[in-house]
Symmetry: C2
Subunit: 139 residues, 2 copies
Amino acid sequence: MTATFAPRGSKAELEAPDAPFAPKFDADGLIPAIAVDAEDGTILMQAYMNAESLAQTLEKGEAVYWSRSRQELWHKGATSGQVQTVVELLTDCDQDSILLRVKQAGGGACHTGQRSCFYRKVPVGQGNAVNLASSSYQS
Amino acid sequence: MTATFAPRGSKAELEAPDAPFAPKFDADGLIPAIAVDAEDGTILMQAYMNAESLAQTLEKGEAVYWSRSRQELWHKGATSGQVQTVVELLTDCDQDSILLRVKQAGGGACHTGQRSCFYRKVPVGQGNAVNLASSSYQS
């Protein structure tokens, strides 16, 4: 399958409400993709897609990412059962980020068993950044 | 200011519920950051932070990104008034992505005037990917 997207236009063309889909891939050929639970809005995970995985996502209606660690297409849930059925796919103003609203199968998105990969908070304020290295925090 | 974060440990160490904050920056020194409205969960935008902007975000309690186009620190809202007060900052399982729950000032996050940068949907299913180049779609 060859993924065919629109050529990148001017800033105004890219941002227009009726602009054609012209996703921007970075120097490694990737675009970040954020998966959100379509039912309650929980942010489930953030991964990356290349043109092929984005095209497959649009065709299958299921999230297909690019695994940077394995350097291969990653049909989410194909082995784990954590399939993400895409309810809605959005792009941002300059079309260099993807948002997926998904129906999450398998109880959650994270391989750790957590429903969301974002299961830990980092303390904010009062100069915490300089102290975090030596302190632990609770989720 | 020198940003001090924990060294990257093993996969198990990085994923532990009480792991120290050891964010992973990519080859360009950046980590993606997703901003969500803390009140209603709307996904507002996705940008990037470097170590300095992440440290400033933690210290100020306001979102500071790294502008890739301008190659400079970007204290969101400093000129536009669209300041993002950080209510909560989270990281994901392998600590290579940041999620901010923010109180958004100025009516929205997007420079286009939209509340969210993700104001356009891309049709999913039935092989749309190959046709998108020549078709427009509605938000």
